[in-house]
Amino acid sequence: MSAPEGLLKRTPLNAIHRQMGAKMVGFGGWDMPVQYRGILEEHKAVRSAAGMFDVSHMGEVEFRGPAALEALQHLTSNDASRLSVGQVQYSALTTEAGTFVDDLTVYKFADDRYQVTVNAANVDKDVAWMRDHTQGNVEVRNLSDETALIALQGPRAMETLQQLTPLDLSGIRYYWFAQGTVRGQDAVVSRTGYTGEDGFEVYVKPQHAAALWNALLEVGTPLGLVPCGLGARDTLRLEAKMALYGNDIDDRHTVLEADLGWILKLEKGEFIGKLPLAKERAEGIRRKLIGFEMIGRGIARSHYTIVKGGQPIGEVTSGSPAPWLEKNIGLGYVAVEHAAIGTECDIMIRDNPVPARVVSTPFYKRKR
């Protein structure tokens, strides 16, 4: 670890992680569990039963006031006006160049109240950006310090959580949320996640997080629930081809280059970065985020060079083993002429070209 422990922030569940023997790591300024029993075991548990993640380090920001929607429309690429109360959408906080300040989810609580969930490493940056680019009758409130978040993911996630709440979880559709109580405490329960499985993300006040974690463990363990760390969180999201800010998306790549055109709604009105994105849509992108799988023996990692015919054509942004698929996979930007599915290429691994192939994504898709 590079930072001394004393400087890292702790979620309300920190003591529990340590007591459970988690291997801890510094991430985005936070002291977080990277694994408990092992990344492979945790990953497979999520796909076959259920896994539970402390994601309290993530940020939550509220937009409140008559101009809340207008503010969000100006700041993001997706069309927040399409949201009904209780609905969630994935979106991008865009720069003037149409690249990413962050990716985020947007929740509509009321016509004059929205909440966004942002990446842990970007909270301060995002809040400053949002405030700087917001005007009118709306208040931007950083709720991160008063919000804890536990993600419960997997085919048995619903069965686990249902035992602790009077909310009818089966009535919450994917990318919708409900407000109610879990274990008698106020909670927002959203049917969202970062794993590619069915599941829920439960927002509670920090003082209730530990009791909730322990209760979930108690009712979930007989169903196969295991606690999971950031290691499995990363391998799961990669199999599901979900982008990670800092790896696959950043302020140097546009929403379209990142293959996220589906969260770009140019017709919704003006927003930061609209002009360059409209131009790019019309003219076409020059490089594209693609998924690949290793054909030769080797694991691709971030920043490894992608070559074809001995010439560099791009760079790996994320790469690792795929524990459920039992192959090695990755994402990377390549020149668009080499982005077609089936394109053969090589990944440079320690000065050796190892064969790989561009494949369709997501690598893993759960059965519905």
Binding site: K23, G38, I39, L40, E41, G231, T235, G298, I299, P321
Partner: protein, 129 residues
Amino acid sequence: MYPADLKYTKEHEWIKLEGEKGRVGITHHAQEALGDVVFVELPKVGRRLQQMETFGVVESVKAVSDLYSPASGEVVEVNSALEAKPEMVNNECYGAGWMILVKLVDPKELGKLMDAKGYEAYLASEGGH
């Protein structure tokens, strides 16, 4: 956890003297720190190594770590079973998880390495990382 008949490097490899040869692997501490081992890259038979020269790589899910040869010599055998079952490095790091067998140039080189007690003391100090 740290067999008395082995010698240890600061980079957490062990070596076992077998006549004029040395069998090499990584220690319990190393495999535990790595987490699940998913890939091991070993040298070809015939490769010549200097003491503490890198001979390959061991990869966990999240990270790539260099492997250092505890002694100088020629690689005479590699554990090809690790290709299909890299997890043996975690499960049997002193047994079936061995990595290379080296014909030693000079067995006295092992004198430069730590014995089990020395390695344990090293782990207990800042050397544990």
